[in-house]
């Protein structure tokens, strides 16, 4: 009988997460055709979403309607392929359904829809879901319950004044059941954050708003795991984790390219990109249209 020590167990867990994230990435890439999707933004936060649903959030198919479940709100919205890939992988709905992407016979389009099992609320308009999450967190406090409320935000989204307004309120009500995760991929839609509307020093901004702040590598499962498991949720303050990520992570041919936010590739290119995801070097130049949509 093999005996594993704790270090090995952790390693096994992280390897499983990596595999799951890799397969989720493949699903996401497959959605970047026949109309396309926000591929770059989805690939930057996918490790975080896979981690949250696999290891952190107390929510699954059986607790999906329980008032004791944890809540996850995808505030940046346009990275919903990452959420759908994760949810379908965990059995919230059939994987087959992802083939309905952009089809009128289903509800799988460029932004989240609550009709899809596992989606807590629709989003797409930036700067909304911290407020909505505050409402949920307040109710949990009123009921003296312990569920956690997690909100994933984009860094470009932090331009919205409503984010900072909501933080004032979260701080005033000492919502330590509220956890924000920032997908810090350094990009707004079309521009680098620091070259358009600089966010730095971001940690101290959040600290000044009364939050407990952590910074991590958003693609390193060991670091993600250690940080999330170390959160206390009883500091009388909301928490924020700034996760440094790379837009387009996993596909070197689109990584950190400003015009590869929304992508619509040919079927042939999709197959090539999946080869690239699994380690092959992309031989041909990507030619598909570069759509800038917001």
């Amino acid at each position: 009988m093999a005996i594993y020590n704790r270090y090995d167990m952790e390693n096994v867990k992280h390897e499983i997460l990596k595999k799951r994230a890799l397969s989720a990435r493949e699903q996401v890439i497959r959605m970047a055709t026949d109309g396309g999707c926000f591929l770059g933004a989805s690939l930057s936060c996918i490790d975080l979403i896979v981690y949250l649903y696999s290891e952190f959030l107390k929510i699954d198919m059986n607790t999906i309607d329980s008032i004791e479940r944890d809540y996850f709100f995808l505030s940046k919205g346009h990275d919903v392929p990452a959420l759908y890939a994760t949810l379908s992988d965990l059995g919230f709905f059939e994987k087959q359904r992802l083939l309905n992407h952009l089809k009128t016979n289903d509800y799988i389009y460029w932004h989240p829809n609550k009709m899809i099992p596992g989606v807590e609320f629709h989003s797409g308009s930036l700067g909304h879901l911290i407020s909505v999450a505050i409402g949920v967190a307040l109710d949990i406090k009123i009921r003296l319950m312990n569920n956690k409320v997690v909100v994933l935000l984009g860094d470009g989204e932090l331009n919205e004044g409503s984010v900072w307004e909501a933080l004032l309120v979260a701080n005033a009500y000492k919502l330590d059941n509220l956890l924000l995760v920032i997908d810090r991929n350094q990009f707004q839609a079309n521009m680098k954050t620091e070259s358009l509307i600089p966010l730095e020093p971001l940690e101290s901004k959040f600290e000044a708003f009364g939050l407990e702040v952590y910074s991590i590598d958003g693609h390193n499962f060991q670091e993600i795991d250690e940080t999330f498991q170390g959160l206390s949720f009883n500091s009388k303050r909301p928490t924020v984790i700034i996760a440094d990520t790379i837009r387009g992570k996993g596909l070197p041919s689109i990584e950190e390219k400003a015009d590869r936010w929304f992508c619509n590739f040919s079927h042939k290119e999709i197959e090539n990109l999946i080869d690239e995801l699994y380690g092959k070097t992309l031989k041909t130049e990507l030619t598909s249209e570069k759509l800038i949509v917001r």
Binding site: H122, H128, I134, V136, A166
Partner: protein
């Protein structure tokens, strides 16, 4: 009974109600003492107020949200439309000092396009009580409705005895008449009542309709008014565009009905800020001035 007592009673009796405000406590000064943490003041943050009310509604609550009509409907419009509207959540928006009730505040505080904005949201319903009594008669049904509601808050003193038969989508017929119909809502019902009295002294009989809810609207009473009287008057402290006149125009066109309609509304301008009685005189909205406008119109048809 006043609004705050009514609200306190209903909220104490039903755990689902959460009373919220963006630091607009004029009508709810003491409710926090009875409701404890089911009273939430988010400070001067209309967007966060609305977003968090949506979150509370997701948890099965019925948030009753207080803010000034202008900031509620305009500063937070997209949150109302997107979070409450798309979500079809049963949030109740209590809009303070709408229309002429903003008195001397000035155009920054004038919500005279609120009906237009709110009725453009598919799920949203609209309740415009004429006075405190009318408010309290309808409020329970409105709060317990599964729909989101915009309430043009008006707790002015009642001069008219209202019918207790309240139904969402049903108007209150205050008098039958054969010469003209006045369709109105909210605070101006008092002036319409006064105008009807003045006209009756000249042997002109007025069918007076207090619409109560503008969405859903009582289509039947409007259409029957067209067949019963030769003139419809729409009276409102709202821009001509998008309010009651628009609702009536759309309804008549939809039913291929033509009618003589006299709209009395704000025509493409904000009103001159002043105390309530003074601004009515200045804008031509007193009962006497309304009666004069109607007499002039009757002469022409």
């Amino acid at each position: 009974m006043n609004y705050e007592d009514f609200l306190t009673d209903i909220a104490l009796g039903d755990e689902r109600f959460i009373i919220m405000t963006a630091e607009n406590r004029a009508a709810i000064r003491n409710i926090n003492k009875s409701l404890g943490n089911r009273f939430i003041d988010t400070g001067i943050t209309e967007q966060t107020l609305i977003g968090s009310s949506a979150g509370l509604a997701l948890r099965g609550r019925i948030p009753i949200v207080h803010a000034l009509a202008c900031f509620l409907t305009m500063r937070a419009f997209e949150f109302i439309r997107t979070d409450i509207g798309i979500g079809e959540l049963p949030v109740k928006l209590i809009a303070a000092v709408p229309g002429f009730l903003s008195e001397a505040n000035g155009p920054t505080h004038q919500a005279v396009e609120d009906i237009s904005l709110m009725r453009a949201i598919p799920a949203m319903c609209i309740f415009c009580p004429a006075d405190l009594q009318d408010l309290l008669i309808g409020l329970k049904d409105v709060l317990l409705s599964p729909k989101p509601f915009y309430i043009r808050f008006n707790q002015s003193e009642s001069h008219i005895l209202h019918s207790n038969n309240f139904e969402i989508g049903k108007a209150e017929l205050l008098s039958e008449g054969k010469d003209l119909t006045i369709l109105t809502y909210g605070i101006l019902l008092n002036e319409a009542f006064e105008a009807a009295k003045i006209l009756s002294e000249k042997n002109i009989s007025v069918r007076l309709v207090n619409l109560r809810t503008l969405k859903p609207i009582d289509e039947e009473i409007i259409l029957s008014s067209v067949s019963k009287t030769p003139l419809l008057v729409t009276l409102e402290d709202h821009f001509l565009t998008g309010g009651l006149f628009s609702i009536v125009a759309e309804l008549l066109l939809k039913n291929k009905v033509t009618a003589n309609v006299l709209p009395i509304a704000l025509e493409n301008k904000w009103f001159k800020p002043a105390l309530y009685r003074d601004l009515l005189v200045n804008e031509g909205f007193t009962g006497r001035q309304i009666a004069e406008k109607i007499l002039y119109k009757l002469d022409m048809i």
